[in-house]
């Protein structure tokens, strides 16, 4: 477990708290809360996807909500219209999202930086009308309900609570496995190629990195992660609608990845945790209410879009590398050939 070596004690404390909470929560919560927690856990996947493409690969993606949606709609299609077993449907749904990511990733071969941000933002904006245009897949304006249920097997119990715990465990396992896979990917030869491509693609190419393959593969894996997140949402709530996948949602996913910290896997976990804490606190505050302008400000704190928009702006100035990245100045030396050479054979790079 290289992931755990050489961390500061605070990371251990935070990790222990997280593990404790993950075990403690299902034992003390009711079905509704448990579903909520499962959704939170699953939402790490999409953020991780953005992190892989943007943080490691340097390809800004503002449209990952679209891949979440594709994963959800595809899984709903496979499990219902094709009557497939759940696991197969989830795998295929993830693959479909990956393929759609590849299609989007192809332009990324030539379109870089801010222009790629523009194209992916356009994708996020176009998605809702596009989904409405194909009502047989997306359920059109009103959305589609999924008939199949992801229930616990009989040996696990047949109460609704048992079903909820069963789904919770599945979500947890899926996310842990996805994090492990991503961790291994970014710390492997392929991961070094991805980061070299981000830092200086010309230099990376000179060192033998196949830019085309690396870019497309990165985008594919990144979209697959997001699609898996969408598929697991279907597992938790057997209903999906284009209404969920607004532009704002895509942008908040991006913001979560950036605020948590790009280029560190734990950044994505921290970002999602933060989103939950913020939305909990925001709800409490807006319930307190207030009069006049105070009430309006408190109500604004209840919307993810406001808080994360504000977070994006503020963190750009205070923590250019996100919360996990720490307070360091921007990447000044990035792109220097000498730096790349020095880092090339080292396993752990400081992003």
């Amino acid at each position: 477990m290289r992931a755990l070596r050489g961390r500061s004690p605070w990371v251990w404390v935070a990790g222990a708290l997280l593990v404790f909470w993950l075990i403690w929560a299902p034992m003390t919560s009711d079905t509704t809360d448990l579903r909520r927690y499962s959704q939170v856990i699953v939402s790490v996947l999409a953020v991780l996807g953005v992190n892989l493409a943007t943080g490691y690969g340097g390809m800004i993606s503002l449209g990952h909500g679209v891949f979440v949606a594709v994963g959800a709609f595809a899984t709903a299609y496979f499990v219902d219209d094709m009557s497939m077993p759940w696991v197969l449907a989830i795998v295929l749904g993830t693959l479909v999202a990956g393929v759609s990511g590849t299609i989007v990733g192809l332009p990324a071969l030539r379109i870089r930086g801010i222009h790629l941000a523009l194209v992916t933002l356009g994708l996020a904006i176009v998605f809702q009308p596009l989904a409405k245009r194909f009502p047989s897949l997306s359920g059109g304006v009103s959305g589609r309900a999924v008939e199949a249920r992801f229930d616990a097997p009989s040996w696990f119990g047949d109460t609704r609570y048992a079903d909820a715990v069963w789904r919770y465990i599945w979500c947890l396992v899926v996310v842990v496995v996805a994090i492990a896979i991503t961790w291994n990917l970014v710390n492997s030869r392929a991961g070094r190629a991805i980061r070299a491509m981000r830092d200086n693609d010309t230099a990376a190419a000179i060192y033998g990195v196949d830019l085309v393959r690396t870019r497309v593969a990165t985008f594919m894996v990144s979209a697959s992660l997001a699609g898996l997140g969408g598929a697991m949402q279907i597992v938790l709530v057997p209903f999906t609608s284009q209404e969920t996948y607004t532009v704002q949602e895509s942008l908040v996913i991006y913001a979560t990845a950036v605020i948590g910290g790009l280029g560190t896997i734990w950044g994505s976990v921290v970002g999602v945790a933060l989103r939950e804490i913020v939305s909990f606190v925001g709800t409490q505050l807006s319930e307190v209410g207030g009069f006049g302008p105070v009430g309006h400000v408190l109500a604004l704190l209840d919307t993810d879009a406001f808080v994360f928009g504000l977070g994006l702006v503020v963190l750009t100035f205070l923590f250019p590398r996100g919360l996990v990245g720490g307070r360091r100045s921007g990447p000044r030396n990035r792109g220097r050939l000498a730096g790349l050479v020095a880092r090339r054979y080292r396993d752990r790079t400081t992003v």
Binding site: L62, R110, L118, I125, P129, L251, L312, L315
Partner: protein, 315 residues
């Protein structure tokens, strides 16, 4: 093919073209000088549109913000004056944005600027939704739109509204051209756009010059929002779709070419109406899809667009 119908569709499309051209022009002004795509341009425009809405409503109608803006003399304003108010607000907010959020990030990586503009998009979008509700609001037309208020050309109706939008745009273009070509600040702006460091070495205050550019762009956006608010109805996300069209127009014309923004706006406006009309598969809802595809195709095949400057990369 029904030629009268085609002509009618072209006339209808020209109104959208004017809006896309003006917003694309705003994007180009900023891209040309600062080198960044302002993703928040549409939302800044929407906010200015809401300011016009509040100025129209006046103090007594219980609209958010009318208590403060109602203190201005003479509120409620007639439409034209309200739009002027929105433009003034837009220019001030544009200048403030540059000064507070963009200027300190001069040496920051590209992604920092993306983050700030995306953050602003989210911020403004959620604020307008919170303050004025997500439901669409009626916004009066700037030019007469009633039945019979049009020219008849070969049996097709060219609305006064369309002509008014184009007249507005052309007047703005003339003003812009005079500002850029005939004034000292305009000369400074052109110098900063071409080479910021050299301009600064010549004693030009680049930051302040760019601030004027941002003010101009946001003012143009406010005009675009006010003109389209009657058609698409005033709502918090109304400019998101428009922004895709405007970005497609700017990309098609060349992201650093004002002329390109104008031509691109016309072409994208026409394609938005004509493609769904003659390709039934796409349908009106999806009119935004061709725009996105055009944008991707241009960026892939010819990133400089029709009139933009080609970039040469050096290793």
């Amino acid at each position: 093919m029904d030629l009268v119908l085609l002509l009618q569709r072209i006339f209808d499309a020209l109104f959208n073209s004017a809006i896309y051209s003006s917003l694309a022009l705003a994007l180009v002004i900023i891209y040309r000088s600062t080198g960044l795509l302002n993703f928040a341009q549409g939302e800044m425009a929407t906010l200015a549109g809401y300011i016009a809405f509040v100025l129209l409503a006046g103090p007594s109608r219980g609209v958010y913000g009318s208590g403060v803006l109602g203190l201005l003399p003479g509120v409620p304003y007639p439409v034209a004056l309200a739009v002027v108010g929105a433009v003034v607000f837009g220019m001030l907010s544009g200048a403030a944005t540059e000064r507070v959020l963009i200027r300190p990030l001069r040496d920051a990586p590209e992604m920092a600027l993306v983050n700030v503009t995306i953050g602003m998009l989210l911020l403004i979008n959620s604020m307008t939704a919170q303050w004025w509700g997500t439901g669409p609001r009626f916004f009066p037309p700037l030019f007469p739109t009633g039945p019979g208020e049009n020219f008849d050309i070969f049996g097709a109706r060219l609305r006064y509204n369309t002509i008014g939008a184009w007249m507005t745009l052309l007047v703005l273009l003339v003003v812009l051209a005079v500002l850029l070509q005939r004034t000292r600040a305009g000369l400074a702006f052109r110098a900063v756009s071409i080479d910021r460091t050299s301009a600064e070495l010549n004693g030009i205050r680049a930051g302040r010059t760019l601030m004027y550019g941002w003010a101009l762009a946001a003012g143009l956006g406010a005009v675009a929002a006010s003109m389209s608010a009657n058609i698409v109805l005033l709502e918090p996300s109304m400019m998101l779709r428009v922004l895709v069209f405007a970005f497609a127009a700017a990309t098609l014309g060349g992201l650093d070419s004002p002329k390109g923004a104008l031509v691109g706006g016309v072409i994208i406006g026409l394609s938005q109406t004509l493609i769904p009309a003659y390709v039934p598969f796409i349908g009106f809802e999806l009119g935004v899809l061709p725009a996105l595809l055009v944008m991707v195709a241009v960026l892939l095949v010819r990133p400089a667009g029709l009139f933009g400057t080609r970039r040469i990369e050096r290793v």
